[in-house]
């Protein structure tokens, strides 16, 4: 079992509490707080936690990075912290140096392909790239004659069609046609074509787990404050049972995500075990995100449906995160095919091996 650095988690939590309190952010009149937050995260080394020190990063462990992601979920962080982490990991994996500033990674949807031509130019398109419209760089997984490469691209060089997505963070369409990367390198042999999807899914599962923990706490607290029919609604059995179900969904997401993070952190490369755990976590956490958000809203009633309440900062990100790096259906088909190929009698040994 891997252990994340509690000091690092505490530091992340403190920065986010100070500079990204959802209540303050929600009430802010403009985005002026964003650069301050980003600077604090960057200066503390959190944004490039997964990049070795010699490549400009903080050289933290894989377990640390997932812990940062889980904390970022608990704050519904509206800056590309997770995305920059992921992009940094991809660049570092290929031995590339990491630039400062915000990044995102592409592709996010399983069927999007970006190819690298003989002329050194990219082509292809990726939809739903988180924060693509606002980040400075993109780390791109690309193919040239079946060889996988990682390319660092300046966002300004790409044609980006902005779309706010559910959370307002941006789920933008990026067209790479003709773009010349700033830097490029082959992906090492211990990583496959699904490496970005697996890491992205694991990251999102961690964030979903964190987000669910927070809306469970919010809904639990609200149920104890809100009075209806002359008692706190927490005293109604229907509300208690709804919250028990929310706790169950939260537990499943948290357990699946932390199991996956642990698997990736303790094994070398991203083999079948990482695929299996990441797929299961993204499926189960994605299901939990949908169920959990619905329950949290039901408990909150009308107030939770308003712009001024922070609940939507979480629920809209939960909905968005379940779509990123493969949705439940996409992962489930892949996982189902993997299991079927092994056959009925190999399923239990597979499960027990985790």
């Amino acid at each position: 079992m891997s252990e994340a650095d509690t000091l690092l988690i505490d530091a992340t939590t403190r920065i986010l509490q100070d500079l990204c309190d959802p209540q303050t952010v929600n009430a802010a009149k403009d985005d002026g707080w964003k650069p301050t937050l980003w600077r604090a995260l960057e200066e503390s080394g959190l944004t490039l936690a997964w990049v070795p020190e010699e490549r400009g990063g903080a050289g933290a462990s894989l377990a640390d990075g997932f812990a940062i992601a889980a904390v970022s979920g608990r704050f519904a962080v509206p800056v590309p912290l997770g995305e920059t982490l992921l992009a940094g990991w991809l660049l570092a994996a290929a031995g590339l140096d990491c630039p400062d500033g915000t990044m995102s990674a592409a592709p996010s949807r399983p069927r999007d392909r970006i190819t690298l031509g003989k002329d050194g130019r990219l082509s292809g398109r990726a939809l739903g790239i988180p924060f693509a419209g606002t980040v400075q760089h993109l780390a791109v997984l690309t193919e040239q004659d079946r060889t996988l490469h990682v390319a660092l691209v300046a966002a300004k060089d790409c044609a980006i069609r902005a779309a706010p997505g559910l959370s307002g963070d941006g789920r933008d369409a990026v067209t790479f046609d003709g773009v010349v990367p700033i830097a490029m390198a082959e992906l090492p042999g211990n990583l496959g074509a699904n490496c970005l999807a697996v890491m992205g899914a694991a990251l999102r599962a961690s964030q979903i787990g964190g987000g669910l923990q927070e809306i469970l706490a919010m809904a639990t607290a609200y149920a104890q404050e809100r009075v209806a029919f002359e008692k706190p609604i927490a005293k109604f059995q229907a509300v208690q049972h709804n919250l028990a179900r929310l706790a169950g969904e939260t537990a499943a997401a948290v357990a699946a995500a932390s199991s996956t993070a642990d698997t990736i952190a303790t094994l070398d490369g991203l083999g079948d075990a990482a695929f299996f755990e990441a797929a299961a976590a993204k499926i189960r956490a994605g299901e939990a995100a949908g169920e959990g958000a619905a329950i949290a809203h039901q408990v909150h009633g009308a107030i939770g449906f308003t712009e001024e309440h922070i609940l939507h900062r979480f629920t809209q990100r939960l909905w968005a995160w379940r779509d990123d790096f493969g949705n439940e259906s996409e992962w489930a088909v892949q996982l189902g095919e993997f299991v079927a190929e092994g056959g009925a009698d190999e399923l239990w040994p597979l499960l027990a091996s985790r």
């Binding site: 639990t220 005293k235 079927a340």
Partner: protein, 386 residues
């Protein structure tokens, strides 16, 4: 506000994985030499004293208990591995499982020394079957409504009343019974109940079968008429059973048996859907596997945290709630996913037979050992709502 829900990503230690290899070899050999048949075990009560004795001989009953009582002082994670392997193999563990999981630990904690020395080693040898005498005709979910009386008499108590839904009572040697020794008080309606060790093979006890809707004899009605129980058979505090009820609950709620009860349906589903399922079937398998994997990871985590001295009480209850709902809905999901599997003879006969059985027993999975309603109340309490 309550503590955040947490699951340490615990992996099973090497000694547990070594044990798994041993257990698998044992089970494979049992099946090969006709020691038990998985299909028959599923469709029956799974009660086989001879099998239990063979398991006891391997040292796998009460394996976490002190050696002085026949235990092996192994870890709860080792027990976890053995339990899940037995469960998935559909082995007939009914003759020892209750004693192993519930009754033995209660005796260890509350029984006088001479009873421990008498009974615990016999349990570990697989020679001693326990049942649990909690529910009564008017006391199901609400255990503290129990009214079977234990009236003080010379050197002990006389028991009068009726227990109901007592699984395997007709094949058991002992019961741990919950009897009323005093009336409840105004302040505490849970006061006045006491746990007793009951020797079943004597007069004063009538055991009547209660067949279930699958037409199987699993439950019993156990009628006590002036049954004498000696004073030293009291387990724990007189009138204070309510303080003891929670001692082993996190283990009891979070074991692999809380989500693997209908696992055989998933195995057979994967078999009938074949190696190249269409997207509809593949997605269905993928979602089911994601869920069972997650449940197992939750269950391992709770057991590991318990072993490490933590108290994941809320997490344990959640495993049971999510797990029992899942194992209950699994047959319906499997039925739907297999809707287009061709019915040529042999193709799906086993699947259909087991699916039909699982469909029939599914309703009990969210009732036995604490209903979903009661369990969610417990989770709500863990969240600080009650």
């Amino acid at each position: 506000m309550s503590q955040a829900i947490h699951f340490d990503p615990i992996r099973l230690p090497p000694e547990a994985e070594e044990l798994r290899i041993e257990v698998r070899a044992f089970l494979a050999e049992e099946i090969a030499n006709g020691g038990f048949d998985p299909r028959t075990t599923i469709l029956s009560s799974g009660f086989d004293r001879e099998f239990s004795k063979r398991v006891g001989a391997k040292g796998w009953i009460g394996m976490t208990w002190p050696k002085q009582y026949g235990g092996r002082e192994r870890s709860f994670l080792e027990r976890y591995v053995a339990t899940e392997e037995f469960r998935v193999a559909c082995a007939p563990t009914a003759a020892h499982f209750t004693a192993d999981r519930q009754s033995g630990p209660v005796l260890l904690k509350y029984a006088p020394e001479h009873i421990k020395q008498e009974v615990l080693p016999a349990i570990t040898r697989g020679e001693c079957t326990f049942c649990i005498g909690m529910s009564e005709p008017n006391s199901g979910s609400d255990l503290f409504a129990a009214s079977t009386r234990a009236t003080a008499t010379d050197g002990g108590y006389l028991i009068n009343g009726t227990k109901l839904w007592t699984s395997n009572a007709h094949q058991s040697d002992f019961m741990i019974g919950l009897f009323r020794t005093s009336p409840p008080t105004k302040e505490n309606r849970r006061h006045g109940l006491t746990q007793f060790l009951v020797r079943l093979k004597q007069s004063g006890i009538t055991i009547n079968p209660v067949r279930n809707m699958a037409h199987k004899h699993e439950f019993n009605e156990v009628v006590f008429e002036d049954l004498f129980i000696p004073e030293d058979h009291i387990l724990g505090e007189l009138d204070g059973a309510w303080k003891q009820a929670t001692s082993e609950l996190a283990y009891e709620r979070s074991g692999p048996e809380r989500f693997l009860e209908t696992y055989y349906v998933l195995t057979e589903l994967v078999r009938v859907l074949g190696n190249s399922p269409d997207p509809r079937a593949a997605e269905g398998i993928g979602r089911l596997v994601a869920q069972v994997h997650t449940l197992r990871r939750m269950s391992v985590s709770v057991n590991g945290m318990l072993q490490a001295g933590k108290e994941p009480v809320l997490e344990g209850s959640i495993v049971k709630d999510v797990g029992t709902i899942w194992e209950q809905t699994l047959p319906d999901k499997a039925r739907s996913l297999a809707a287009f599997v061709d019915a040529e003879p042999g193709n799906r006969a086993t699947f259909d037979e087991l699916l039909q059985y699982a469909t029939t027993i599914a309703p009990k999975l969210t009732i036995q050992g604490g209903t979903t309603e009661v369990l969610r109340g417990i989770i709500a309490r863990g969240l600080g709502l009650r």
